[in-house]
C-alpha cells in the first residue's frame, strides 16, 4: 500500500462517509460521537443517516434524563395490575436491536446510565436483573452521542466515548449540508458483502501502527477503524481494503483521538504524493512504515482546518480534564432522583409509581376478590425516592504570582493545595489552581481530585511580574460558573496582597487597575459565588478588605501565611 492519491475531503464529505459506515455496520462501528450544537447541519446529518438505513431499522431517541428502569426494563405496572401477577416489561435498549440508539445531550448522561449501555454494546445483549426478574434479550445497536458540550465542560461518559468508533465535529459547518453518500439500496447491498471483505495482516499492522504514532492507547480504536474501513470496501464492492479505506477510517476513528503528533512532514508531502510503484507485497514492509503511510494519507485527505483542530486537541489532551465532576452523595431531601428504596415517607419523598409497583402484584390477594375495592397499599409497599446530589466543593485557588514575594506565596499555595487534596480524597472535594502575573491569569490546574496530576502541574508555576487582579477575578469567576453548571459547589480562595497594577488589556496604571478589579469583584457577588480573600501583604490592606466586601466574601489577613493555616481557613469555609 502506497500513500494514497485521493482527493482531499471536506468536513461534510468526511461526515457523510461516517454516516455511510455507520449505516452499513452499526455494531461494528460502535457508533458516532457527533459534537456540535443542535442546528441544521446536525439535523441534516441525522436525516442523511436515516435515509441510508433500511426502512425497518429501529431508531431510538434517548433523552439524557432517561431512567434506569425505562432503559433496562422492570415491572410492568399496568399489566401487573390487570393480570394480578408480576409482568415484566422490556426496556428501551431491547427495542433497539439491530438499529440505532441516539442519546440527546450526551454530555449530561450520568455514568450510572452509561454503564449498562456500554455493557450492551460489548455483548449485544441486554442483561437485566431487576424488580425480581431475570431477563436477557438481544440488544445490538450503534450508538449516536449528540454532544453539545462546550470545550470547557466535561465530555460524555468516557465508557461510551471509548466504544463509539467514529468521532465527528460538525461545529464548523453551517446550514443544511448534503451528507448523503449512498442510497439505502447500496447500504443494504454493502451489508451483504461485508462478511466477504478480507482484512490482511498488512492492513492490521498499518492501523495499529497509525494508532501508536498518534498516541492512541486503547486497542479498541484500531479495531473499530478496521471495521469502518471494511464498510468502505463493501460499499465500493471490493473484497480487499485499499489505502483510501484505511486513510478514511483512520481520519474518522484514530485522528480525533490523537494525543500526539508525529514530526511535521516537508510541505511536498502534504500535496498528493507521487505514487511509487511497490515492487513486492506489503508484508515486507515494517508496521511502523505502514503506519507512516497511513498517517501521510490522512494528511492528504483531510481538510487542513481539521488537521489543525486535531493537532490542537492532541496537545491540549495532556491538560484536558478527563475527570467527571464531583462525587454524588445520597440525600434524603434534595438532588435528582436515582431510583427508590423501601422507606419511611415521613423522612423522604414518596415515589408513588414505585409504591404502586410494589403493591400491584398483591392486589388480587389483598382484596380477597371483592369487586370495586380500591387499591390496597400496605406499609411494606411504600417506596421513597433515593436522591443524589452532586457535592464535592471545588476549591479554586487564585494565587498571586507577581513580584518579589511570589516565590514564598506560591510555595504556600502549593502546600495548601496539596494538603487539601490529601484531605479531599476522603471528602471527595476537588481542587483547581489559577495563577496570575504579568499581564494575564491562567488556569494552571483544572479541577481535579488527582494528587499526582496536580503536583505535576503545580511544579510548572513560576513567579514574577505585575498584578493583573481584574483578569484573575474574571478567570476565577468563569471557572467557578463552569463548576457550578456541572453540579459542583465552587469556592474561590484568593491569595494576594491586592496591589492591582495591571489592567485587563494588559496596560499598567494602579487606579484604573483597581477600578477594574472592583468591577470584576462585583460580578462575583452578582453570581453569588463563595469567595475568601487571604491578604498576604505585611500589613492588612484596606483595598483588599474593600475588594472582599465587593465580592461578598470572607476576608482573612494572614501576613505570615503558611500552608497549614491557609488549609485550615479553607477547611472551615468548606465545612462551616
Amino acid at each position: 500500500m502506497t500513500p494514497v492519491v485521493a482527493p482531499r475531503r471536506t468536513v461534510a464529505e468526511l461526515a457523510g462517509a461516517a454516516a455511510a459506515a455507520l449505516a452499513v455496520d452499526p455494531r461494528g462501528a460502535g457508533g458516532v460521537r457527533l459534537h456540535g450544537p443542535a442546528g441544521p447541519p446536525r439535523d441534516a446529518w441525522l436525516s442523511a443517516l436515516h435515509a441510508m438505513l433500511p426502512p425497518v431499522t429501529p431508531f431510538l431517541r434517548l433523552p439524557a434524563s432517561v431512567t434506569l428502569d425505562r432503559l433496562l426494563g422492570g415491572l410492568d405496572l399496568t399489566a401487573t395490575l390487570a393480570s394480578g401477577r408480576p409482568n415484566f416489561e422490556r426496556g428501551l435498549l431491547s427495542r433497539a436491536d439491530g438499529g440505532i440508539v441516539c442519546v440527546l445531550m450526551a454530555e449530561r448522561l450520568s455514568t450510572a446510565l452509561a454503564g449498562p449501555i456500554a455493557a450492551c454494546i460489548d455483548t449485544g445483549m441486554a442483561e437485566v436483573e431487576r424488580d425480581g426478574f431475570t431477563d436477557r434479550s438481544p440488544a445490538g445497536f450503534g450508538l449516536i452521542l449528540l454532544d453539545e458540550g462546550e470545550p470547557d465542560e466535561a465530555p460524555p461518559p468516557s465508557a461510551l466515548l471509548e466504544r463509539v468508533g467514529l468521532h465527528l465535529d460538525l461545529a464548523t459547518l453551517a446550514g443544511a449540508v448534503d451528507f448523503s453518500t449512498a442510497s439505502a439500496a447500496e447500504v443494504l447491498a454493502a451489508r451483504g458483502r461485508l462478511a466477504a471483505v478480507e482484512v490482511r495482516d498488512a492492513d492490521r499492522n498499518a492501523m495499529v501502527a497509525t494508532a501508536a504514532q498518534l498516541g492512541v492507547a486503547s486497542i479498541r480504536a484500531p479495531l473499530a477503524a478496521l471495521r469502518v474501513a471494511r464498510c468502505f470496501a463493501a460499499l465500493d464492492s471490493r473484497t480487499q481494503l485499499n489505502g483510501e479505506d484505511l486513510a478514511l477510517a483512520a481520519a474518522l476513528v484514530i485522528l480525533p483521538r490523537a494525543t500526539r503528533w508525529p514530526e511535521p512532514e516537508p510541505e511536498s508531502g502534504e500535496e498528493a504524493p507521487p505514487p511509487e510503484p511497490q515492487p513486492g507485497p506489503d508484508d515486507d514492509v515494517s508496521p511502523g512504515e505502514l503506519g507512516d503511510r497511513v498517517v501521510e494519507s490522512v494528511r492528504a485527505i483531510v481538510p487542513p482546518g481539521l488537521l489543525e483542530l486535531a493537532k490542537d486537541a492532541a496537545l491540549r489532551s495532556r491538560v484536558e480534564h478527563r475527570h467527571r465532576s464531583g462525587a454524588e452523595v445520597k440525600s434524603q431531601r434534595h438532588g435528582r432522583p436515582s431510583g427508590n428504596k423501601a422507606g419511611d415517607p415521613r423522612r423522604a419523598r414518596v415515589d408513588l409509581l414505585a409504591t404502586l409497583r410494589a403493591a400491584a402484584p398483591w392486589q388480587r390477594v389483598r382484596k380477597g376478590g371483592g369487586p370495586g375495592a380500591r387499591l390496597v397499599i400496605r406499609r411494606d409497599d411504600l417506596r421513597v425516592r433515593r436522591l443524589v446530589s452532586k457535592v464535592g466543593t471545588t476549591v479554586i485557588f487564585v494565587v498571586d504570582a507577581s513580584g518579589s514575594s511570589a516565590l514564598q506565596r506560591l510555595g504556600e499555595a502549593k502546600g495548601a493545595v496539596e494538603t487539601l487534596l490529601a484531605e479531599s480524597y476522603v471528602r471527595r472535594d476537588r481542587v483547581a489552581l489559577i495563577s496570575f502575573r504579568g499581564t494575564r491569569a491562567e488556569v494552571v490546574v483544572p479541577p481535579t481530585r488527582s494528587l499526582t496530576r496536580a503536583r505535576r502541574l503545580l511544579a510548572s508555576v513560576v513567579g514574577g511580574g505585575g498584578t493583573p487582579l481584574a483578569a484573575a477575578i474574571e478567570v476565577a469567576r468563569e471557572l467557578a460558573v463552569t463548576v457550578r453548571r456541572g453540579g459542583g459547589t465552587p469556592l474561590m480562595v484568593f491569595l494576594t496582597d491586592a496591589r492591582a497594577n495591571v489592567r485587563r488589556d494588559g496596560s499598567g496604571g494602579r487606579p484604573d487597575a483597581e477600578r477594574e478589579a472592583g468591577e470584576a469583584a462585583r460580578t462575583v457577588a452578582v453570581e453569588q459565588l463563595g469567595a475568601i480573600l487571604i491578604d498576604t501583604s505585611p500589613r492588612p490592606s484596606p483595598f483588599a478588605r474593600q475588594l472582599t466586601a465587593l465580592m461578598n466574601g470572607t476576608y482573612q489577613p494572614l501576613p505570615v501565611a503558611d500552608a497549614s493555616r491557609v488549609a485550615s481557613v479553607v477547611r472551615q469555609a468548606v465545612e462551616g
Binding site: 434506569l68 432503559l71 433496562l72 394480578g84 401477577r85 408480576p86 455514568t111 450510572a112 454503564g115 449498562p116 455493557a119 460489548d122 442483561e127 437485566v128 436483573e129 431487576r130 424488580d131 425480581g132 426478574f133 431475570t134 468516557s158 465508557a159 471509548e162 462478511a195 482484512v199 495482516d201 492490521r204 499492522n205 492501523m207 495499529v208 494508532a211 501508536a212 492507547a217 486503547s218 486497542i219 479498541r220 484500531p222 479495531l223 478496521l226 508496521p287 511502523g288 478527563r322 475527570h323 467527571r324 462525587a327 431510583g339 428504596k341 402484584p361 398483591w362 388480587r364 390477594v365 411494606d380 496539596e418 487534596l421 490529601a422 480524597y425 481530585r449 494528587l451 499526582t452 503536583r455
Partner: protein, 344 residues
C-alpha cells in the same frame, strides 16, 4: 451457541491472568480487583474463566449449588432433605461465573420473595438471587467503582462471610454463598473507598500494551474471533486444556505445599518495610504465594513466589502519603529490591 473468547488467547497481561488463576486454585485469597485502562481485556479475561474451570460435583436439585461431599457446606434445604432420610444425589455442573449486570436491583442480588408462588399458591417462598447462583464460583462486577455503595458493602460482606443472610419481605433465611469476588474498574472515573479496596485479596493493574507487535497480535486475534469464533476457540482449546490441568493439579497440591520459616520471615519483613496496615496483607501474600507455587508444580514456597505476588497482594494496602507521589507499585518494587536484591 455463543462462543467466549478463550483465556489463553489473551495476549500479555501476565499479572492479571496469574491473579485469576491463583483465585481459582485457592478461593481463600479473597477476591481480585482489576484496575486498568479501557480496552485492556479485563472483562474478556474474567468471562473466559468458566471454560477454564473443571466441572464440580453439585447436589441434584439444589438451588444453591451445594457441595455433596461429606464435609461440604449445606443449605437449609439440603439439610432438611438429609434429615428426612433422603440420600442426596450429585451430578457435575460447570463452575458458575456470574456477571453482575450494572443496574441490577438489590432484590435480584440478594434474592427476594417469589412473587409468582406467593400469588398463585399463597406460599411464602424464597427466590434465590445472584449471590446464590454464584455460590462456589465467581461473581464478577465490572465497573465496581460505579456500583452503589450499599451494594458494594453487601457484596464484600457476603464474600467475606461466605453466607448470605436475608431479612426482607417477611423472609428470614440464610444460605451459603462462597464465591470469589472479581471487580474491575477504571480509577479515572472514581476511586474505590480505601476500606473497600482493602477487602479485596489481590489487586492488579493492567495497562494497554505499548509494544507494537503485541498490539498487532491483539488486533489479529480479536479480528479472527469476530470472523470465526469457533475457529479461534478451537485453536486455543489445547492451551486452555493445559491451564485447566494445571488448576486441577494445583488444587490437589496446594494444601501440602511447604512454607519454610525463612519465607515466612521474609514476608513479614516485606510487610513491615512497606508499612501495610493489619495482618490481612501478610496472610494474603502467603496464601497467594502458596497457590502460585502449587500452580507451578513446586512442593515448597520460595522467595520467587513471594516476590511474584507481592505487588498484587500489597499495593492496595499501602498508606497514602500525600507528599510522596511514587505509585504504590513502584513502592512495592523498591521494597522488594531492597529485601530480595535487584529484579532478575
Amino acid at each position: 451457541m455463543r462462543h467466549v473468547y478463550p483465556f489463553s488467547a489473551i495476549v500479555g497481561q501476565a499479572e492479571m491472568k496469574r491473579a485469576l488463576l491463583i483465585a481459582a486454585v485457592d478461593p481463600g485469597v479473597g477476591g481480585v480487583m482489576i484496575f486498568g485502562d479501557r480496552g485492556t481485556g479485563k472483562s474478556t479475561a474474567v468471562r473466559a474463566m468458566p471454560a477454564l474451570l473443571p466441572a464440580m460435583p453439585v447436589v441434584v436439585g439444589c438451588r444453591y449449588g451445594c457441595d455433596p461431599s461429606a464435609n461440604g457446606l449445606r443449605c437449609s434445604e439440603c439439610r432438611d432433605r438429609e434429615s428426612s432420610g433422603e440420600r442426596l444425589r450429585s451430578h457435575r455442573a460447570a463452575v458458575p461465573v456470574v456477571d453482575l449486570p450494572l443496574g441490577a436491583t438489590e432484590d435480584r442480588v440478594v434474592g427476594a420473595l417469589d412473587l409468582e408462588r406467593a400469588l398463585a399458591r399463597g406460599e411464602k417462598a424464597f427466590e434465590p438471587g445472584l449471590l446464590a447462583r454464584a455460590n462456589r464460583g465467581f461473581l464478577y462486577v465490572d465497573e465496581v467503582n460505579l456500583l452503589e455503595d450499599h451494594l458494594v458493602d453487601l457484596l464484600l460482606d457476603v464474600a467475606a462471610s461466605g453466607e448470605n443472610v436475608v431479612e426482607r419481605e417477611g423472609l428470614s433465611l440464610r444460605h451459603p454463598a462462597r464465591f470469589v469476588l472479581v471487580g474491575s474498574g477504571n480509577p479515572e472515573e472514581g476511586e474505590l473507598r480505601p476500606q473497600l479496596l482493602d477487602r479485596f485479596g489481590l489487586s492488579v493493574e493492567v495497562t494497554t500494551p505499548t509494544d507494537l507487535d503485541e498490539r498487532v497480535e491483539i488486533v489479529r486475534r480479536r479480528d479472527a474471533f469476530d470472523h470465526d469464533p469457533a475457529g479461534l476457540v478451537a485453536r486455543f482449546e489445547h492451551a486452555d486444556d493445559q491451564v485447566r490441568r494445571r488448576i486441577v493439579q494445583a488444587r490437589k497440591r496446594v494444601t501440602t505445599v511447604d512454607m519454610p520459616d525463612a519465607v515466612l520471615r521474609r514476608a513479614s519483613e516485606l510487610c513491615l518495610a512497606l508499612g501495610t496496615d493489619g495482618l490481612r496483607g501478610e496472610l494474603t501474600l502467603l496464601r497467594a504465594a502458596r497457590a502460585l507455587a502449587a500452580l507451578e508444580g513446586h512442593r515448597t514456597v520460595t522467595d520467587a513466589e513471594v516476590r511474584a505476588v507481592a505487588a498484587s497482594a500489597l499495593r492496595h494496602r499501602l498508606r497514602r502519603n500525600p507528599l510522596d507521589d511514587t505509585g504504590s507499585t513502584a513502592r512495592c518494587e523498591r521494597a522488594l529490591a531492597e529485601l530480595f536484591g535487584p529484579a532478575s
